[in-house]
Symmetry: none
Subunit: 212 residues, 4 copies
Amino acid sequence: MKRIETDTGLNTSDDSTRERIVKSAREEFVAHGFTGSRVERIAKQAGVNKAMIYYHFKSKENLYHAVVEETLSHSFERLHRRVSDTANLEDALREIVTTHTELMTGFEGFRPIMLRELANPSSEFLDRLAAIIVNSGLPATIRRRIESGIKVRAIRQVDIRQAVTAFMAMSIGYFLMAPLSERIFQVSDPDKFTEDRKKAVPDIFLNGIRTR
Amino acid sequence: MKRIETDTGLNTSDDSTRERIVKSAREEFVAHGFTGSRVERIAKQAGVNKAMIYYHFKSKENLYHAVVEETLSHSFERLHRRVSDTANLEDALREIVTTHTELMTGFEGFRPIMLRELANPSSEFLDRLAAIIVNSGLPATIRRRIESGIKVRAIRQVDIRQAVTAFMAMSIGYFLMAPLSERIFQVSDPDKFTEDRKKAVPDIFLNGIRTR
Amino acid sequence: MKRIETDTGLNTSDDSTRERIVKSAREEFVAHGFTGSRVERIAKQAGVNKAMIYYHFKSKENLYHAVVEETLSHSFERLHRRVSDTANLEDALREIVTTHTELMTGFEGFRPIMLRELANPSSEFLDRLAAIIVNSGLPATIRRRIESGIKVRAIRQVDIRQAVTAFMAMSIGYFLMAPLSERIFQVSDPDKFTEDRKKAVPDIFLNGIRTR
Amino acid sequence: MKRIETDTGLNTSDDSTRERIVKSAREEFVAHGFTGSRVERIAKQAGVNKAMIYYHFKSKENLYHAVVEETLSHSFERLHRRVSDTANLEDALREIVTTHTELMTGFEGFRPIMLRELANPSSEFLDRLAAIIVNSGLPATIRRRIESGIKVRAIRQVDIRQAVTAFMAMSIGYFLMAPLSERIFQVSDPDKFTEDRKKAVPDIFLNGIRTR
DNA sequence: GATGAATGAGATTTCATTCAT
DNA sequence: AATGAATGAAATCTCATTCAT
């Protein structure tokens, strides 16, 4: 049943009924949010009877949790592999931007779900995502690298939390607000733009904190 | 962080029924999104009969538009006054961060509405907000200042769009993802942190693009 | 809105929607029990939209409570009026049998509801009914009359609780098991039989406890 | 009150799947009535798959019939042995009260099923139970004994049907309404109370119809 | 302007029953 | 004999909207 993960980590060819339901549900929740989603539509899309959904998941809410679970386990696998045997700060930062990019562009659904959960102050999703990120070791790695950089005077005496937060915002916050950015600065080739970011963001950030 | 109400462009002391409805509606839409919001609850909160809402606004959607309108007119007022006769790039950047901060923290509801609209690709709200931002002149000002900076070799030959976008992400994207950041880096005093950002962000960014 | 009570205490001509719903609901619950009853049928019978039922009562359970309430308030009025200015024990017993008879035959629905509630050990209905009966003063009156009868040796030294319980069983228990009795002893004229009981039961009981 | 299981006619140690299903079904039907009972719950309780129930019984209704059958065969065994060569009326009455007591208290479930069937005018269960009671010969015996009592003037000229019915109500009707009685007259020791009844009821009844 | 009552359409959920294995 | 998965039909409940007053 375990299958080799595709590049997106998304298991699209497993057609066990349960998987088919989760898949349809993800699409539906992504497109309409929780309340806007219709169990009927999810069922039809999955090619099953509505009752089947209640057989496998007990409620619409449960089904949503299952989708969130899947979305998160995906991001978990993504992050875990990247962690930390990067040679230096620059490589680590590149890794993060790349990972975030893949997360936000490669897994259709992660972004909208995250956006909506960000509007929900007591979101379990965010709790779990934060835990995943922390456990991946990336924030600690960055912090440590910056600290040693400061010690050897390669990096200025910046407020580390401000610096790391700013970097996260550049890396992941960008994707959240992308539709607004795209409206403000007409981006003609978004793919190239996203690709360029992978270099531009670490570059600006590193120069921003480096000693001169 | 507490601000004088009249300054927000939000007339909270007008007790006309219509205003009371819009106020409740805003709270409801902010808390539950469009589909999750209940006309009944809005009515009860406003202390009126449900039918009254249909008397004043013709539909739930209409009411939502009214709320969005209000939210946007607010952000418009916010941005309009600031425009651009700032002395230099650094001042301009500070102005932007400050404006964004006020926008996101000063008007309860702006953030959640924006988050949810960001999940909606054909959002009218984003169209209008982008227009407001563009019309405020700030992006053009920044761009121009960077361009002249490059010309006189004060600023490196960076990709301007990437730079401006990165700055925007740091400035406004941060607020969108704040609940996640707060979970990852335990921020004990968010008000002070937000205040510090007003200096830290332009500092990192400017150093990031300056020649050395 | 208050109207003169008919003989049954059942307000059948009040056609406010709420009343019509309760009336249909009573019929439905009586005929099918709680789980067997259908909100749809109740609505149709009351000539209203299903949603109307949820507008007036919040749930099916609530509606059931309302029916029970009505049934009980009815029995309450019934009993309250009869209380206790009966001249002697015999009159008091006749009063009880008459009241029980009216309750069980006059108010279509009391019996089935009571039967089903008797099968439910933690029934609120029974709690309330017991309270009504106790508060009517009848049990205390009977008990007191028997006690004084014993004192003056008109009545034998019987176990009073057993006696009163036995009488209650004869009076009200009979109606509960009537369908069984009717099957065992073919009763050709049930109305006359019920009428005769009003004398026969006190007669047997009184002779049963009298001294000789 | 605790009785030896084999005596009840209920084979509780037969672990065949079929028996386990009937046992769970009885508990379920007793607790929730027919419409309130859930096939799913019965299956789970019996430790089998829902489909198994449909394999053994064809439908929920069929299963209910099986339970009723079992309940009736039980009451049949209960009553069968007692028949009527009791020495005198008093002994016969005691026999009946004892039998009824055992019927109602000895077989968990008999009472609730009977109560609910009593609400159902065309109940097959009642038909069959009445037949069993009639066939046991007890009612005829009582009637005959009363008739001869009247002939020899040991018993008053009472309406025999009324008398027998009243006795039945005292004997069996009591159990039906017991939860109400217990609420009205706080009975602290129900076991003793039930035991005392076995003497009190025939005593009151006999004195009630005896000549003086 | 304002309300209580009403509604149609449709949402989520339940349940007895059957099918394929 | 036994199961997990599936289903059709229907149940309870919800909600934006309208009507009569």
